[in-house]
C-alpha cells in the first residue's frame, strides 16, 4: 500500500478506540477521512456537526419502495466513527462512507426479512470467534473482556495500538478465519475500491476508519480488476436514509443488535471521565438502590470502590473494570447476593438515555409532523416507561389521547393500555403507559406512504383496513381507536366497512363478538362528545341480524361450542340491557323466550335463556318451575339435564341463597324425585354445585335444610381449581362407566 493511506482498525462503540483514534488523527492531520459505513447516507454526514443532534443516534437506511427493509447504524458519542466524523467536519475535511452500499444489500425479501431491521455491524460472531483463540491464549475466557482490557480501558496515549491490532488481525485472518463469507469479501472489495478512488483524486493522507477485523484485507490491496470482478453484477435498489434517535438500551448486546456493548453507560463514563470513574459508577448504583429503598450509605460505596480496586490487583489487571465493580457491589452493597444488584441491573447498565434529532433535519414529513405534535402537546418521547393518566375533560389531554390513538392506528405502539385497562379510572380518564422505542422510526417511515401528517396517514390507513380486513371483529376493534382518535373522516369508511361486513357475515359468533364493543363505544362516545350516530346506525343493522341468527346457531351444537356461545350470549345480554333501548330489549327477550322454549336448542343455552328471562321478570315462578321439571325429568338425557341446570345457575350459587322462590323450585323438584332418579341425577348436580365456593355450598345446604345458617362467608373458600377438576371428569366417567364424552 502507498504512503497515502493510513488504516485505523477500531471497535464500534469502543471509547478506548475512539480516544486512540483521535490522538492518531491529530498527529496524522489527514486530508481525507473514509469511514466504514453506508455510502447511501453520505449526504447526511455534514448534518452530524449540527447543533441539536445528540447521540445516541442512528443512521436509518431503508428501501424507498419497502421501508420495512431497513438497517440501523447506531452511534454513541464515544463511537470511533462518530468521533472521526466530528474530527473531519470540524476541520472541513472531506468525509465519506466506504462500506458496501445498502442499495446492494437490502435486496430480497428473504434476506432482509429474516434479519429484520438490524444494526450495521460486522457479524459479531465473526469477530468474536476470530478473537476467541487469541483471548484464550492471553488467559481470558471472554474475548470481549480481553479486548476491553487491551484496547478500550487504555488511557489512549499510544497510536501504536493500531499497528499492533492490524498485525494481530492479520494473523487471525491468515490462520483461523482464512475464508470469509461472500458478503464480507464484497464489502472489503468495495472499501478498497473507495480507497482507490480517493487516492486517484490526489489526497495525500487518507485516514481509513473501519472495524479492526477488516484492516488486513485493506493492506495490501489486490488488483482493482479482481475487486471489480467480485463486485460485478450486484443488484441495486433505491434507498433513502435519515438520522433517527437511538437508545443506550439498543446499543447493548442484550437487545440482540450485536454491537457488543455490555454497558453503554459504563463506556460513556470511560469516555467522559478521566478520573474517579469507579466512584461515579458505584455512586450511581447506590443512588438507584436508594431509590429502591435499599439502605446504602456513602461508606458502602467507599468500601466497594476499595474492594474493586484490590480485586483488580488480585486479578493482576491494571484497572478495575465492570466485572470487578459488579463483584464488589455484590459483596459490599448486596450482602453477597446478586439479587439486589439485579434489581437495578438494567437501569445501572443501560440507563435511559434517548438521543435527539433536530426537528429541521431531512426526514419523512410524517416524522416531522409527529415531532411538532409531540412538542405542541408537551409529550416528548422518553426511553423509560411512564404512565400517563389523561383527563378527557381537559382539551390538552384529549388531544394527547387522540395522538396516541392515531399512532396506534399506524402501528406505532408508543402507548399501551395500562394494567387494568385504559379506562380503569372511570369514563373521563384514559390511562396509558408510554415508552418510546427506536424501532418506531421504521414504523413511521413505513407509515409515510399513507400521508404527510399523522392524522392524514391514520385516516388513509383506516380506509385501507376497512377495505382489506377479513373479519368483522378485526374492524370493530379498530372502531374504538378511530372514534377516540378524533378522526371524523375516518369514521365513515370504517362504519361502511363494518356495515357491509355485517350484512354478509354468516357467522353469528362474529356478530356476537362485535356487539359488546360497539355498544361500549356508543355509550362512552357520548361521554367524550364524539359523534356516535354512525355507531347507532351500525347497531340498527347488526342487532336484527343477530336476533335472527342466534336461534339456528344454538341448534345441533356440542358442549364445547355451546360453552363458547354461552359466554358470548352473556356478554351480549349485558350489552343489550345496558344499551337502554326498549325495542332492542324487547326483541332480545323474545329471542331468549324462543331459546328457552325449544327442545332442539342446546341444553346449556336453553338453561341460560330461562335464567335470563327469569331475571328480567319475563318468566313467572310457575313457568320456570315447569321448565325445570321438563328439563330434569326422567325422560331427559342426564347430560342435557346437567347442562341445563348449569346454564340456569350460570356459575352463580348466590342466587340460590338470596332468591327464595328459585330455591323453592329446586327444593320442590328435588323432593319429588324417586330414589332411582335421584341416584341417577346426583353426580350431574354435583358437577354443577362443585363449582361454587365451599362457603356458598354450605349456606345453600343449610338453607335447604330449612334452618338459616349463619353466613360465614368471611371464611376462606378454598382454592379449588374448577378447570383442573373438570379435566379429570372424562377419565372418571370411564372409570365409573357413566357413558361417553357427550
Amino acid at each position: 500500500m502507498t504512503e497515502a493511506v493510513h488504516l485505523f482498525g477500531v471497535r464500534h462503540h469502543g471509547p478506548g478506540s475512539a480516544r486512540s483514534l483521535l490522538r492518531a488523527l491529530e498527529s496524522l492531520a489527514p486530508d481525507c477521512v473514509l469511514i466504514e459505513g453506508p455510502p447511501d447516507a453520505d449526504e447526511l454526514l455534514p448534518l452530524a456537526a449540527k447543533e441539536g443532534l445528540e447521540p445516541p443516534v442512528a443512521l436509518l437506511v431503508y428501501r424507498t419502495d419497502s421501508p420495512r427493509h431497513a438497517v440501523f447504524y447506531p452511534f454513541a458519542r464515544y463511537s470511533p466513527e462518530w468521533q472521526a466524523i466530528q474530527f473531519a467536519l470540524s476541520r472541513a475535511l472531506p468525509v465519506r462512507f466506504i462500506d458496501l452500499p445498502q442499495s446492494a444489500r437490502l435486496r430480497d425479501e428473504s434476506e432482509a426479512g429474516a434479519e429484520g431491521p438490524s444494526a450495521g455491524e460486522d457479524p459479531p460472531e465473526a469477530r468474536s470467534d476470530a478473537l476467541a483463540p487469541i483471548a484464550r491464549a492471553a488467559g481470558y475466557d471472554d474475548p470481549e473482556r480481553w479486548w476491553d482490557h487491551l484496547v478500550e480501558s487504555r488511557s489512549g496515549k499510544d497510536a501504536e495500538v493500531f499497528r499492533a491490532l492490524r498485525e494481530l488481525m492479520g494473523a487471525v485472518r491468515n490462520e483461523i478465519d482464512a475464508d470469509p463469507p461472500l458478503l464480507e469479501r464484497r464489502r472489503e472489495a468495495f472499501m478498497r475500491k473507495s480507497i482507490r478512488a480517493a487516492m486517484s483524486e490526489g489526497f495525500q493522507r487518507i485516514a481509513v476508519i473501519c472495524g479492526a477485523y477488516h484492516t488486513p484485507a485493506l493492506d495490501p490491496m489486490p488488483t482493482a480488476k479482481a475487486d471489480d470482478a467480485i463486485l460485478k453484477g450486484l443488484p441495486k435498489v433505491k434507498t433513502a436514509a435519515a438520522w433517527v434517535p437511538w437508545t443506550y438500551e439498543r446499543l447493548s448486546y442484550q437487545s440482540g443488535y450485536g454491537a457488543g456493548v455490555e454497558s453503554p453507560v459504563w463506556y460513556e463514563l470511560l469516555w467522559e471521565r478521566r478520573t474517579a470513574r469507579g466512584a461515579e459508577w458505584l455512586s450511581r448504583a447506590a443512588r438507584l438502590l436508594r431509590e429502591a429503598d435499599a439502605p446504602i450509605s456513602s461508606a458502602h460505596v467507599i468500601e466497594a470502590c476499595r474492594l474493586a480496586e484490590t480485586l483488580a490487583a488480585v486479578r493482576e489487571r491494571p484497572a478495575a473494570t465492570l466485572a470487578e465493580y459488579r463483584d464488589a457491589a455484590v459483596a459490599v452493597l448486596g450482602d453477597g447476593s446478586p439479587t439486589l444488584m439485579e434489581l437495578i441491573g438494567r437501569r445501572w447498565y443501560f440507563g435511559s438515555r434517548l438521543g435527539t434529532v433536530p426537528a429541521d433535519f431531512p426526514a419523512a414529513p410524517l416524522v416531522r409532523d409527529l415531532a411538532a405534535e409531540q412538542g405542541r402537546l408537551r409529550l416528548p418521547p422518553k426511553a423509560d416507561e411512564k404512565t400517563h393518566d389523561l383527563d378527557l375533560r381537559e382539551p390538552l389531554d384529549r388531544e394527547r389521547g387522540s395522538l396516541l390513538r392515531r399512532l396506534r392506528i399506524l402501528g406505532v405502539e408508543w402507548a399501551v393500555p395500562a394494567a387494568g385497562g385504559v379506562r380503569s379510572r372511570g369514563t373521563f380518564h384514559e390511562v396509558w403507559r408510554l415508552r418510546w422505542q427506536p424501532e418506531f422510526a421504521v414504523a413511521l417511515v413505513e407509515a409515510s406512504r399513507y400521508g404527510h401528517t399523522i392524522a392524514q396517514a391514520a385516516i388513509a390507513r383506516i380506509v385501507e383496513a376497512a377495505e382489506s380486513a377479513r373479519t368483522l371483529p378485526e374492524l370493530v376493534e379498530r372502531l374504538e381507536d378511530v372514534l377516540f382518535a378524533d378522526l371524523p373522516e375516518g369514521v365513515a369508511p370504517l362504519v361502511n366497512g363494518i356495515r357491509s361486513r355485517t350484512a354478509v357475515a354468516t357467522d353469528v359468533l362474529q356478530l356476537l363478538d362485535a356487539l359488546p364493543p360497539l355498544v361500549e363505544v356508543s355509550r362512552y362516545g357520548n361521554v367524550r362528545g364524539t359523534d356516535v350516530a354512525q355507531v347507532s346506525e351500525i347497531l340498527a343493522g347488526l342487532i336484527p341480524r343477530l336476533f335472527i341468527g342466534v336461534l339456528p346457531a344454538s341448534i345441533g351444537i356440542d358442549e364445547a361450542a355451546a360453552r363458547l356461545l354461552w359466554s358470548k350470549l352473556k356478554a351480549t345480554h349485558q350489552a343489550l340491557i345496558t344499551l337502554d333501548d326498549a325495542s332492542y330489549r324487547e326483541g332480545w327477550l323474545q329471542v331468549l323466550e324462543r331459546l328457552s322454549g325449544s327442545e332442539s336448542i342446546q341444553a346449556l343455552v336453553r338453561g341460560y335463556a330461562a335464567r335470563a328471562l327469569y331475571d328480567a321478570g319475563r318468566l313467572e315462578t310457575a313457568q320456570l318451575e315447569q321448565l325445570f321439571g321438563l328439563a330434569l325429568s326422567t325422560g331427559a338425557d342426564p347430560t342435557d339435564a346437567a347442562l341445563w341446570i348449569e346454564g340456569l345457575l350460570s356459575g352463580n350459587g348466590a342466587v340460590l341463597i338470596h332468591d327464595d322462590r328459585l330455591r323453592g323450585i329446586v327444593d320442590r323438584w328435588l323432593r319429588s324425585l324417586s330414589q332411582e332418579h335421584f341416584t341417577q341425577i346426583l353426580p350431574l348436580l354435583r358437577r354443577t354445585f362443585a363449582e361454587f365456593p365451599p362457603a356458598e355450598r354450605r349456606i345453600i345446604g343449610g338453607k335447604f335444610k330449612g334452618g338459616a345458617v349463619a353466613a360465614r362467608d368471611t371464611e376462606h373458600s378454598g382454592d379449588f381449581d374448577v378447570a383442573a377438576a373438570r379435566a379429570v371428569i372424562p377419565i372418571l366417567k370411564q372409570i365409573w362407566g357413566i357413558g361417553g364424552d357427550s
Binding site: P295, S297, A299, H300, E303, R306, L307, T310, L311, A313, V314, R315, E316, A323, D327, A328, A331, V332, G334, D335, G336, S337
Partner: protein, 366 residues
C-alpha cells in the same frame, strides 16, 4: 514425610498450615508479588493456594476449594482491604474449610478461633481475667487473659469466628469497634489494645437459619459478604467428595483403597436428586428429606463406607458398605424421611440401570 506416615500421628487432624506446609513453602518460594503487611503470601499466591494449580517450578498445588474462582478472589481481596470477611452458606458448603485455609495461607496460623454458640460471652471476643492474679494484685495487664481476637490484634494475624449468627446479638456488637476503629478498649486499665496491621477477621454463618440472631446493620456494614453456593454441577460435587475423601482417608489411615469414581458419583447423585427434589434428568419430581444433604455429608458417607470396607470387607468400597451411611445421612426424621427414602428407593433406585446392587443393599438395611 515417609517416616511420619509409618508412625502413629500425634494428632487426629492437623491444622491446614501444617498439613499443607510444603505447598505453602513452595508457594512462598515462587511468590515475588507484593504482599500486604504481615501477610505470608501475596494475594495471588493465596488464591493459588486455595484454588490449586501448577506453579512455574512445576510444583502442583492441590485445590482446597472447588467452585467459582471469583468468589475466592473477592474473599482474598476483601482481606487485603482490611475489611472483615463474612462467608455465608448452607451447612457443608466449605465455609469453615475456606476460612481455615485463608488463615493458614495469609497468617500461617489458622488456630486463632472463636466458636460462636448461644453461650458465647463477651470474654470470648474481648478478654477475660485471671481471677487469682486479679485478686492478689489488682487489675493489671498480667491479670488479663486475652481472647483469640485480641491476640490476633496484637500479633497482626487473622482470627476466625465460626457461626457468627449463633452468638447473641449484644455480644456480636462488641465486634463493631474492633472492626471499624481497629481497637479494643480496656476500660479497667484505662488503656486499649490497638490492632497491628495484618489483623483481620473471617466470620462464617449459615444463611438459612439467619433468623437465629440477625446481625445488626451496623455490624453487617463492617463485613464484605461472600456467599458460598452448593456445588453447581454433579461433576464439581463429585470431585469435591473425591478430593476430601482421599485426604481424609490418609489422615484417618483407612486401610481401604481409594474408592472408584463411579461409587462416589452414585452417592453424590442420590444426594443431589433428593436435595433438588427431582431426578437428575429432570423428568420426575421427588420429595426432599428434612436434612440439608450437604456435600460434607456425602463426604462422610463415603469415608464411613471406606472404613467399613477396610475393616470388615474386602477393602474395596461396595454398595453394602455405603448403604448404612447413606440411610443414616438421609433419614434424619424416621417418619417423614423414612417415607421419602422408601419412595426414592422404589421409584428411582430400583429401576436405574446398574444400581441393582445398591437397591438390594439398601433394602437389606431397611
Amino acid at each position: 514425610m515417609k517416616a511420619e506416615s509409618s508412625s502413629i500421628p500425634v494428632v487426629q487432624r492437623r491444622p491446614g498450615e501444617q498439613q499443607f506446609a510444603e505447598e505453602l513453602s513452595e508457594l512462598a518460594k515462587v511468590d515475588s508479588r507484593q504482599k500486604p503487611p504481615r501477610w505470608n503470601l501475596s494475594p495471588w499466591a493465596v488464591v493459588s493456594y486455595i484454588l490449586g494449580g501448577k506453579l512455574d517450578n512445576g510444583f502442583i498445588v492441590v485445590p482446597k476449594y472447588i467452585g467459582q474462582r471469583r468468589l475466592i478472589e473477592i474473599a482474598v481481596a476483601t482481606l487485603a482491604t482490611d475489611r472483615a470477611l463474612l462467608l455465608l452458606g448452607l451447612p457443608g458448603t466449605a465455609k469453615s474449610w475456606v476460612s481455615e485455609h485463608l488463615a493458614a495461607a495469609i497468617s500461617g496460623d489458622s488456630t486463632l478461633l472463636v466458636q460462636g454458640t448461644a453461650g458465647t460471652a463477651e470474654e470470648a471476643i474481648r478478654y477475660g481475667w485471671n481471677y487469682a492474679l486479679l485478686l492478689a494484685k489488682g487489675p493489671s495487664r498480667d491479670a488479663l487473659v486475652p481472647s483469640p481476637v485480641m491476640r490476633a490484634m496484637e500479633e497482626g494475624t487473622l482470627v476466625r469466628l465460626e457461626e457468627l449468627t449463633r452468638v447473641p446479638a449484644d455480644v456480636q456488637d462488641t465486634l463493631i469497634t474492633i472492626l471499624s476503629e481497629k481497637t479494643l478498649p480496656i476500660p479497667e486499665l484505662a488503656s486499649e489494645c490497638r490492632a497491628v496491621p495484618g489483623f483481620n477477621l473471617i466470620a462464617t454463618a449459615n444463611n438459612k437459619d439467619r433468623g437465629v440472631n440477625e446481625m445488626s446493620s451496623a455490624l453487617k456494614r463492617r463485613f464484605n459478604t461472600v456467599i458460598l453456593p452448593p456445588p453447581e454441577t454433579l461433576e464439581e460435587e463429585v470431585s469435591i467428595v473425591q478430593m476430601r475423601v482421599e485426604s481424609l482417608g490418609r489422615a484417618l489411615e483407612l486401610p481401604a483403597e481409594a474408592p472408584a469414581l463411579a461409587e462416589i458419583r452414585r452417592i453424590v447423585t442420590v444426594f443431589r436428586e433428593l436435595r433438588d427434589g427431582k431426578t437428575a434428568d429432570g423428568k420426575s419430581k421427588l420429595k426432599s428429606p428434612s436434612g440439608t444433604l450437604s456435600t460434607a455429608e456425602a463426604i462422610a458417607v463415603v469415608s464411613h463406607g471406606l472404613a467399613l470396607a477396610g475393616h470388615f470387607g474386602d477393602g474395596t468400597l461396595s454398595a453394602h458398605d455405603i448403604a448404612s451411611g447413606l440411610i443414616g445421612a438421609i433419614v434424619k426424621d424416621p417418619v417423614h424421611d423414612g417415607v421419602v427414602w422408601r419412595e426414592y428407593l422404589e421409584t428411582v433406585v430400583k429401576d436405574r440401570e446398574g444400581w441393582k446392587d445398591l437397591y438390594r443393599a439398601c433394602r437389606d438395611h431397611a
